[in-house]
C-alpha cells in the first residue's frame, strides 16, 4: 500500500507530468486563461487518462506482447485513445448530459494531448503491473489537473497586471510555468 502512496506523491508533486516531464504543454498554455475552462479540462483529462492508461495497458500485455506485435504499439495506442475519446463523448452525451455539457469541447481536444499518449507509453515501458498502471495513470492526471488549475489562478491575476508589451500572451505564460516548475522542484527528495 505504501508503495502506491509513494508512487502517487511522486507522480503528483515530484515528477509532475506537466512541470517536470514536459508532457501536455499545449493545453497547459492554451486553456489556462480562465479558471472554469481549466477545471473542465482538468476533470476531462483525469477521466480519460485513467481509462486510456488502463485500457492501453491491457491491450499491450494481453494482445500486442503475446502476438509479437510490439512494433505496432504507437499506431494501436493512438487509435485506441482516439476511439476511446469518441466513445466517452457519445456515452456521456446519452447517459450523463450534465457532465457532458460541463466537459464540452475539451473532450475531443484530449486525443492530441500528449499527456494521455505519454502516460500510456510510460506505463508499458516501465513494465508496471495492473495496479501500478492504474495508480500511475490516475495520479499523473491529478498532477496535470493540479498544475493546470494553479496556472489558471496565476493567469487570472496576471490579466489585471501590467505586463511589458513584448512579454504578453504565451511568453509570460512560459516564464510563469518556469517559476511554477521551480517551486515544484522543491518537492524533490521528499520520497
Amino acid at each position: 500500500m505504501s508503495d502506491y502512496l509513494l508512487m502517487a506523491i511522486s507522480a503528483i508533486f515530484i515528477n509532475n507530468i506537466l512541470l517536470a516531464q514536459y508532457l501536455g504543454n499545449c493545453p497547459f498554455l492554451g486553456v489556462s486563461k480562465k479558471m472554469d475552462t481549466a477545471t473542465g479540462m482538468g476533470m476531462a483529462v483525469i477521466f480519460v487518462l485513467t481509462l486510456a492508461g488502463v485500457i492501453t495497458w491491457i491491450i499491450d500485455v494481453y494482445l500486442l506482447c503475446p502476438m509479437d506485435l510490439v512494433y505496432l504499439r504507437t499506431i494501436v495506442f493512438i487509435l485506441v485513445i482516439a476511439a476511446l475519446v469518441q466513445f466517452v463523448e457519445i456515452f456521456l452525451k446519452k447517459m450523463v448530459p450534465a457532465l457532458y455539457a460541463g466537459l464540452g469541447i475539451f473532450l475531443p481536444l484530449i486525443t492530441t494531448n500528449c499527456a494521455v499518449f505519454g502516460v500510456a507509453v510510460i506505463n508499458v515501458r516501465e513494465g508496471f503491473n495492473f495496479m501500478e498502471a492504474l495508480v500511475f495513470s490516475f495520479t499523473s492526471a491529478v498532477g496535470f489537473a493540479l498544475a493546470l488549475v494553479l496556472m489558471a489562478g496565476l493567469r487570472e491575476r496576471m490579466a489585471t497586471a501590467r505586463i511589458p508589451q513584448v512579454l504578453e500572451g504565451t511568453a509570460i505564460g512560459l516564464v510563469t510555468a518556469g517559476f511554477m516548475s521551480l517551486a515544484f522542484l522543491g518537492f524533490m527528495g521528499m520520497v
Binding site: L19, A20, Q21, Y22, L23, G24, N25, C26, L29, G30, Y71, L72, R73, T74, I75, F77, I78, L79, A82, T111, T112, N113, C114, F117, G118, V121, I122, R125, Q165, V166, L167, T170, A171, I172, G173, L174, V175, A177, G178, F179, S181, L182, L185
Partner: protein, 208 residues
Amino acid sequence: MGLVREFTKGLWDEIPPFRLVLGLCPTLAVTKTLKDGLGMGLAVIFVLLCSNVLISILRNIIPPKVRIACYIVVIATFVVIVELVMQAFTYELYQDLGIFIPLIVVNCIVLGRAEAFASKNGVLASAADGLGIGVGFTLSLTVLGSIREALGCGTLSLKIPFTDISHVYNLFGPSFKPFAFMVSAPGAFICLGMLLCLMNIIGNLKKS
C-alpha cells in the same frame, strides 16, 4: 515563386513553436543539448514532409467525417518508420530522445499542417510547406538546444545522425561554472519564454 513562398514562411513568419505555438512538449524536453535538438528536428522534418505529401495525395479520397482519424494513422505510420530506423542506426540518439519519438504522433504541428494545409493544397505545395515548417522547427530546436547546453554545461555537442561526424566543443574553458538551472525543467520554460520575448522585440523593430 509560390513554392518558395510556402517554404520560406516556415522559417520566420510562421516558425514553430514561436509563431505557431504548437508542439511545445518536444521543444522543451529534447533541447537539453544541441545534438538531441538536431536529431529530433530531423525526425520531425521526415514525418512532416512524408505525411503532408501523402495526405495531399489522398485529400480527395479521405471522407471528411473521418479525416482526423485517417491523418493520425498516416502520421503514426511514418512515426513508426522513424522509430525503427532510429533504433537500428542511431541507437544512442534513440535512447536520448526516448518517449518523445513515439510522441511525434501527437505533436500538434504535424496534425495541424495536415489539417490546415495538406488537406486543401496540391502535392508540391504541401511538400514545400512540410519541409519549410520542419526546417523552421529544427532551427528553433537547434537554437534553443545550443543556448541551453552552452549555459548549462559550457559545451556544444554536435553529432549528425547516420554519419561519424561528432564533436564536443568546450566553449568557456576550465574555469567555467555550469549554470545547471538551464538544463533542468524550469530553465526550459524560462529560456523558451525569453526567446519568444526576443522574437517579439525583433518583430516590433521590423514593423517600426
